[in-house]
Structure formats: C-alpha cells, structure tokens
C-alpha cells in the first residue's frame, strides 16, 4: 500500500503577522513558517495506515523556508521518502500550488501511482483554492474531505472513510482507490518524535528534489487590501478581583432572571 502525504507551510499565528508596505499582502520576511496543522494530522493518518497495513509513505512538499526540518521530522517519524519540489521558495497561492502539484506528481520519479494521497482538508491561507480537492479534480481522482478515519480493504481497491459532520455525527463513505482524502484529524494525535531522532535523520537521510515547471496561471482574484480585522463589536470588560467581577456578573444574571 503506497501513500503520498502532501505537506505545506503556513504562517505561524502565535507570532504577530505584519502587512507588507504595499498594504495588500503579508510581510513574508516577518512570517515564521509552521507546518499546516491538518497536514500534520494527514501524516499521522498515513503512518497509522502504514503501521496497520504495511507499505510505504512518501511525503512531498513544495520548497519554502523551514520546510526541510518538517521533512526530516517526517522521516524520523517513519516516512520512507521525502521529496521537495524546487520552486526557489516562490510564494504560491493554494490554487497555484494545486496546479503545480498536479503536474509534478506524475512526473516525479518512481512516485505514482499511489493508492492514497493524504493531505489536510484545509489550511489557514486557502483563499483562492483548497489544495486537496483541487488536486483531486486535476488528477481526476475521487475526493472526500473533513476525514477523521480511514480503513482500507485488503486488496487496496477501496477504502472506508469517515467524514465529520456536526454534533459529533460522522458519515461513513465507501471510496474507490486511488483517491485523495482531505484529513481533518487523525484518530490519534500526531506522534512525538524526539529531537535526537530528527537530528539523526538530518545526518543520515537525504531529501530528494524534483524541479518544478514554471508557474501556470495567475490567480483569478485581485487582493485590494490586507488589514487587521475590523471589530464588529466588543464585550463590556469588567474590572476587579475575581470576587468583585463574580459579584457583578451574578447581579447581571439575576437581573435577567438567570440566577
């Protein structure tokens, strides 16, 4: 069973995000990249499937700042191959990334076909596209997103996939393989790999590189401005010690017949 996991870097929102001088884009220099959270779950789902069914897991990412450490960490977690698409760290929108991947994947040596392509079902910068379904369309593969569980048939032709709905309900779907799945969460949280193992991977493993064809199309969107969010309203902030505030709140509740 061969699985391909696609991972991408997004801005870490623990840090402050600055707007570039042109007022329309993110100040990329100030950005601290972090792997997209859903992609981490996709990786974990792939590793769990490998633990259970055997086979190989390949991770592929488009070149960007700090992506090497993510790839080595994946190798340390048990991934078999890590491939970087060399784009000279160009900034791509989600739609552009999907278009790029659709052309790169078939061309990468000894990569396709795979039974499953797993990646996060969405990322925080998916403004003009969502990579997972867009890639599925371009590769003409079936797609299901918001996935929280995957089981594969013995002959690798079909998967039973769980999709998350509201209120804790999940939908069970049958999906023909090969397919692209957009992962929301793996059944277990992403595993921890000690720093020593990542360092060891950096020394002993190599990242493969594939060249990227030139950027295909420009986005359909024109960003007019990028701003800090406008606040539509704000709570009345109560001041004081916990006891004082609690007393005020109790009074508010009482006036509304709630306490």
């Amino acid at each position: 069973m061969n699985i391909l996991v696609l991972m991408k870097m997004v801005p870490d929102i623990v840090e402050e995000l600055e707007i570039a001088p042109d007022g329309k884009s993110l100040d990329v220099e100030a950005v601290r990249p972090i792997v997209s959270e859903r992609d981490d779950h996709a990786l974990e789902q792939a590793l769990l499937l490998k633990d259970k069914y055997g086979g190989t897991v390949t991770v592929l990412a488009i070149e960007s700042r700090d992506v090497d450490e993510v790839l080595f960490t994946a190798l340390a977690k048990g991934v078999d191959r890590a491939i970087k698409v060399a784009t000279g760290e160009a900034i791509l929108t989600a739609a552009e990334a999907a278009a790029l991947l659709a052309r790169v994947l078939p061309a990468a040596p000894n990569l396709m076909p795979v039974q499953l392509i797993l990646t996060g079902c969405q990322a925080i910068d998916d403004l003009d596209g969502v990579v997972a379904p867009a890639l599925a369309e371009r590769l003409k593969l079936p797609y299901l997103g918001i996935v929280t569980g995957v089981e594969v048939e013995a002959d690798g032709s079909r998967a039973t996939v769980y999709k998350e709905y509201a209120g804790g309900t999940r939908g069970r779907y049958g999906v023909c393989l090969p397919a692209v799945l957009g992962v929301q969460a793996a059944p277990k949280p992403p595993r921890y790999v000690p720093v020593a193992k990542v360092r060891a991977a950096m020394k002993s493993r190599t990242l493969e590189t594939v060249e990227a064809p030139a950027k295909e199309e420009t986005s359909f969107l024109e960003i007019v401005a990028m701003t800090k969010p406008q606040e539509t309203g704000h709570a009345e902030m109560l001041e004081g010690s916990p006891e004082e505030v609690a007393s005020k709140v109790a009074e508010i509740l009482s006036s509304r017949g709630l306490a």
Binding site: P11, I13, L17, L26, A98, I124, D126, L127, D128, V130, P133, A134, A136, R138, P142, Y143, L144, G145, I146, Y162, K163, E164, Y165, A166, G167, G168, T169, G171, R172, Y173, G174, G182, Q184, S219, F220, L221, E222, V224, M226, T227, K228, P229, E231, T232, G233, A235, E236, M237, L238, P242, E243, V245, A246, S247, V249, A250, I252, R256, L258, A259
Partner: protein, 324 residues
C-alpha cells in the same frame, strides 16, 4: 448580460441549515446591487427535498433531484453543480462554509477552472463588481478581494447577514435533470451518531463552556459546580473534546452543536471562528480569558480578562449567596 446570483441551499438530514437563510439575505443584496435584472436563485440538490423550497427567499429554485444526492456526496454534488453552472452561467454561487458543503468549495472551482473566494465574512457590490472581505490566518488578518471573473464560487462564513424570513409565497421550482454516472467513486453508506449523552447541550438554557483555559480535566469540576448552581450544563470547545475530557456530545462549534442558550459562559475559550459559529446566537454571552486580546471578546456581551480557575468558584459562590 451578467448571470444571476445563486445560493446553494444547504440542507442536512431533512432540515435547511442555519446558514442558508443568511446566504439568501446576502444573495438578495448582491443581486439588487448588481441590478440589470439580476435574479437570486437557490440551488437545491437532493432527493425528494423539494418540500424545503417553500422556505427559500429567492426568485426561483433550481432543483436537482437524484438518488445519489440523498445524502451529501461531494462527487455527485460537484458533477451536478458543475453541469448546472455550465448550462446557466451564473455570476456567482454563494456556498456556505460548513462541513456539509466544504468539499464543494474546493472541487467546484477546480473542475470548472473558475475563481474561488474563500472564508468570506462579507460580500458587497462595488463599482458593479463583487468585492469580498475574507478572513485569513485564523482570523488574524482580513483581505479585501475583488472577484474579476464569472462564474465565481464564493465561500461564506456564518454570520455574514441576518437570516432571511421565509417568503410569503413559495418560489417557483425548476427541476433540472442532470446526468450522473452510475458508478460513482464516492458512495455514502451510513451515519455514525455518537452515543447519546446524558446531556443535550442544544436544549440547555444555561451553558458553562470550557476551553483550553480550564487547563486540566480535574478543573472541569469547577465548571460543573457553577453549571449546577445555575441549573445548566457543561459544554466545551474542540480542544477539550479532543483531549477526551468530555464526550463529543458536549462539543459546541462547527463540528459540534450549534446552541442558542439564554446564557453562554465561555470559560477559558479563545474564540476561534469554528467555535464562535456554534454559540454566537446565545442571548447573553459572558467570556472569561486571561488574554484580553482573545477573539471571544468580540462576540461576548460581557468580558473579564482574568483566570477562569479563580473566577468560576467565585461566581458559584456569588450565585449561591444570592439564593441564600
């Protein structure tokens, strides 16, 4: 002539979703703003779901009825919708950003090679074109985006507009036949509902909701004491549910329950959009978070920038003192 404005009338398990009437309000505004006879049409994909059409405040309803569309199926929905769009060429289709329609947001624009504008909090007509305000990076930044091409897929977040009321007269329904392949590669099998919990959070008048700020599973008892004193129940945001500290049935938010209690006390919840979606309809929202910049304070009515571990017992005591 520019095409119409479409709204994907989302429904699930027999009911229209809360987002659909909001999108219809938005769509009506946009159609009006574009002028030139632009109509607002609702698109209803389903199987035997025509009865829902009467509640849709649109000029017309395009209905696609097929057995494969009985339950959400991204493959079938995408094929059907794509065919519809190619035939009738709307200006834009507003799609709700919810778990049900989420896959379409990504599939549809890629299939038709048309524009997508995602995470929209607001859409307006500016200089005869559609301009959207989109939330990016978990709410940290907003982008104002012009949609230059048509058709365009517009993904809309909850809360963009108030819900439209059901029309006095049911809109005309046009059945559109669509060819779907017999061998769909994605097939719905069944729903897996969670074990019925002891508590139905959607039926509570008072919810004391805990987030990461509660820090440990033990501390949830502080919330339980307060909930008991107020005659309500404890609910939680996703991080607490993911830890396994409370059952799934207590989750409030996009993947959890949407609640409209009389009192929603957000204890240690940061206010990420996925959570806010599920509780912003509460009559009274009181939020406690050590971070005064937490997004929850934008949606709450009253806020306290303090430690929930101190506040919860204090409020329990204050409430009990009043009773005595």
């Amino acid at each position: 002539m520019a095409g119409n404005i479409w709204v994907l009338a989302e429904h699930w398990r027999g009911r229209l979703s809360d987002l659909t009437p909001e999108l219809l309000t938005l769509g009506r505004e946009l159609a009006g703003g574009l002028g030139g006879g632009t109509k607002l049409e609702a698109v209803l994909l389903g199987h035997g779901a025509q009865g829902l059409a009467a509640a849709l405040a649109a000029d017309g309803v395009l209905s696609v009825d097929h057995a494969a569309l009985a339950e959400p199926n991204p493959e079938a929905s995408c094929i059907a919708l794509a065919a519809l769009i190619e035939q009738r060429k709307p200006q834009a289709i507003l799609v709700p950003l919810s778990n049900v329609a989420a896959d379409l947001i990504g599939l549809l624009p890629a299939r038709l090679k048309i524009a997508l504008v995602n995470f929209c909090r607001d859409v307006r007509v500016v200089d005869g074109r559609l301009e959207a305000r989109c939330v990016l990076y978990g709410g940290k930044l907003e982008a104002t985006v012009t949609v230059a091409s048509a058709p365009a897929v517009i993904g809309v977040l909850p809360g963009s507009r108030p819900a439209s009321a059901a029309p006095s007269a049911a809109p005309p329904v046009t059945e559109v036949p669509v060819e779907l392949p017999g061998d769909l590669r994605v097939r719905f099998e069944a729903y897996v509902d969670p074990e019925p919990g002891d508590v139905d959070v959607t039926k509570q008048d008072v919810l004391v909701s805990v987030g990461r700020g509660i820090q440990t599973q033990d501390n949830i008892s502080l919330a339980e004491e307060l909930a008991e004193a107020l005659g309500g129940a404890v609910s939680a945001s996703r991080p607490v549910i993911d830890q396994g500290w409370l059952p799934l049935t207590r989750q409030v938010g996009k993947s959890g329950a949407t609640v409209k209690p009389k009192l929603y006390l957000a204890a240690g919840i940061s206010g990420a959009p996925e959570h806010v979606e599920g509780m912003k309809g509460a009559a009274l929202i009181v939020a406690v978070n050590t971070d005064p910049q937490a997004p929850i304070f934008s949606v709450a009515h009253y806020g306290y920038a303090g430690d929930v571990l101190e506040f919860l017992p204090a409020l329990t005591a204050a409430v009990k003192a009043r009773k005595a």
